[in-house]
């Protein structure tokens, strides 16, 4: 089980911080006792886009606790188990975390493109998405476009990795021809490792033969 940190690394950081601060002119000897790990406040928030609240588990060497309610909040303190869970007011969330929340980058956007059967041409539906993808890229100040090829589970995992890359490169060509700046694009393949529809191995599934585009 992973232990909460705060031992020698914490001491080093503490020393560095003190040295950087450089105030007081007091020498800090390496034998200075280690300060106990700092307490922390942990809050589970609804997703900024979907408003869905997920779940977290907070543990240290003294215990473990689940949080699954919106704005469910707890403190971790050295020497005791985390908890109990209370609900933080929306005002307190803004007061404590407003500046960090405001600094969150925009949510990545995802598009899925599919090919006509046994073809390197996009389906009509997918071709119609191309302008929307280009608009999403233009809306960002430092855009990245990631094109990920996926396959179904037919055949070997290794050859599916190569097949996914071929599909991703085909989509890259289409988007660059449509005006996407090539420098922003990263092409990769997840092969059969990230199925849209979970299947057994060696299962043909058209919905898994896809190219996903992330604009972020």
């Amino acid at each position: 089980m992973a232990r909460a940190w705060g031992g020698s690394r914490g001491l080093q950081l503490g020393l560095i911080a003190l040295l950087l601060a450089g105030c007081g002119g007091k020498h800090v000897s390496p034998a200075t006792p280690v300060a106990p790990p700092a307490p922390a406040v942990i809050v589970l928030l609804p997703d900024p886009e979907t408003q869905v609240t997920g779940r977290i588990v907070v543990h240290n060497e003294f215990g473990s606790i689940d949080v699954s309610s919106a704005r469910g909040s707890l403190r971790t303190t050295p020497g005791t188990a985390p908890g109990p869970v209370t609900t933080m007011s929306a005002e307190d969330v803004t007061r404590l975390f407003g500046e960090a929340l405001a600094a969150l980058p925009p949510a990545p956007r995802h598009f899925t493109l599919q090919f006509k059967f046994e073809s390197d041409a996009l389906t009509d539906e997918s071709a119609a998405l191309v302008p929307t993808i280009l608009d999403a890229v233009k809306a960002l100040s430092v855009p990245e476009v990631v094109i990920i090829g996926h396959t179904d589970t037919m055949g070997e995992a290794k050859s599916n990795l190569a097949l996914g890359l071929r599909r991703a490169n085909a989509v890259r060509s289409i988007l660059v021809q449509a005006g996407l700046p090539p420098a922003t694009v990263d092409v990769t393949s997840h092969g059969e490792a990230d199925l849209l529809v979970k299947t057994r191995d060696n299962t043909p599934e058209p919905r898994n033969r896809r190219v996903e585009i992330t604009v972020r």
Binding site: A2, A4, W5, G6, L13, P37, A38, P39, A40, V41, I42, V43, L44, L45, P46, D47, P48, T50, G54, R55, I56, V57, V58, N60, T76, P78, P82, V93, L96, F97, G98, E99, A100, L101, A102, A103, L104, P105, A107, P108, S119, D120, A121, S141, V142, E144, L161, A162, G164, R166, N169, A170, S173, V187, T188, H190, A193, D194, T214, R216
Partner: protein, 150 residues
């Protein structure tokens, strides 16, 4: 059409050949997207001001001054932002689903930060750990705010 296929095939071969060399280059964990005031990355012995577009790597520490805030988006769509007087280390970051490698450890050392989970939390939630000094957070999604008290 077969011309395009041939080109794509050739590209795939080139990329395939380049892959072993590329694997030795460090792959960024993510990129800086938002900066307000003074925000820095600590990499080894050097501390550098960051700007939008800068790459962030595993083992980097993000740090903000009293007027600073910074937001990054990682390769799996995980988002992380820091408020003022804050420090978070990207202790570990591996995202290679095709090759079966997934893992992220973020160390919240000081101040306030917000984490919004990405694809890694869907593919392998147990591979993600948010470490505060006195407790470790396992994430099933999606958004967690952490304040380390000083």
């Amino acid at each position: 059409m077969s011309g395009l296929l041939r080109t794509v095939g050739a590209l795939a071969i080139v990329v395939g050949m380049a892959a072993p060399a590329a694997a030795q280059q460090p792959v960024p964990a993510g990129h800086v997207k938002t900066v307000t005031g003074a925000a820095y990355v600590v990499r080894g012995q050097s501390t550098t001001a960051v700007k939008p577009g800068d790459a962030i790597f595993a083992s980097d520490t993000l740090r903000t001054a009293g007027d600073g805030a910074v937001g990054i988006t990682m390769r799996d769509d995980t988002r992380l932002s820091l408020g003022p007087n804050s420090e978070v280390r990207v202790d570990r970051y591996v995202y290679a689903p095709g090759e079966g490698g997934l893992g992220m450890v973020l160390k919240f050392m000081r101040g306030v930060a917000v984490y919004v989970s990405g694809r890694m939390a869907k593919l392998a939630p147990d591979s993600i750990r948010l470490e505060a000094p006195s407790g470790i957070v396992g994430v099933r999604g999606t958004t967690v705010a952490i304040k380390v008290e000083s």
